[in-house]
Subunit: 124 residues, 2 copies
DNA sequence: ATTTTCGTAACATATGGTGTTACATGAAAC
DNA sequence: GTTTCATGTAACACCATATGTTACGAAAAT
């Protein structure tokens, strides 16, 4: 599949697609070929790739929108708040990453197939 | 304490302080007085106010930086991903909010007092 | 050679948070 | 009562990040 087509699917620009897919390529999850009949191809078994691995491949972007702004603040109040919550954030993050690890691309493909087969022409 | 002084503590602008403190005022956590000797005053018992209550007072800002962009997407792939992760995000959020509820302002004040007493003149 | 497609740099745009100015309102001090 | 100090709030400026776009080079097939 080309970046052009993927961009249409994702409602975005081919260059944006290449940016993100490039990270997946560096992680060995996809391959890219240039020229005629080129494009992106999945290079791994869907069973063996979890959303956690995708998260890693995409650079482990920050999970939380709130939380410590500064790991080692000078401010004593900030230190107290950080100390009180760092455990909670760590646990929540660990929980999420565990769940990410539980979901494989094969799981998603299966679920998608079920939805695709089951839809009742509600498209517009 | 005035917005002016609070702003210096927080390294920000008095108006920014008023914006946020205004939310706490609407939630009944602080009172504001104008004129001479005016400023902000905590109007509740520190023991009874948790970080969870502060989170609510501040409008329950989004906790996660990643996650579902669309609750009810038309895209079947997006539907599959959402379905696979919505439980995980819900659990992680519930866990965090529980921990927020466990921390009172009194806890923070106590921890701050300990840090303040224990510091060894490492200030600059 | 031409076409197709990725790779990448450079720049443009949009968004949200933060900072700033300005001015009205209220309360105390004189 | 006038002045001073402080909040309340609107309006605008600024900044960082994410996203979108243009441009062009490199590689592969026709």
């Amino acid at each position: 599949m080309t970046s052009e087509v993927l961009g249409q699917c994702l409602r975005t620009n081919p260059v944006v697609v290449r940016r993100t897919m490039g990270l997946l390529r560096e992680a060995g999850l996809v391959t890219a070929e240039r020229g005629h009949a080129g494009g992106w191809r999945i290079s791994v078994d869907l069973e063996t790739v979890s959303l956690r691995r995708l998260h890693e491949a995409l650079g482990e972007p920050a999970i939380f929108a709130i939380g410590n702004r500064n790991e080692t603040p000078e401010c004593l109040v900030e230190q107290s708040v950080n100390a009180a919550l760092e455990g909670a954030f760590a646990e929540a993050e660990a929980l999420l990453l565990e769940r990410f690890a539980d979901v494989t691309l094969a799981d998603l493909a299966k679920d998608f197939a079920r939805r695709h087969a089951g839809r009742r022409d509600t498209m517009e």
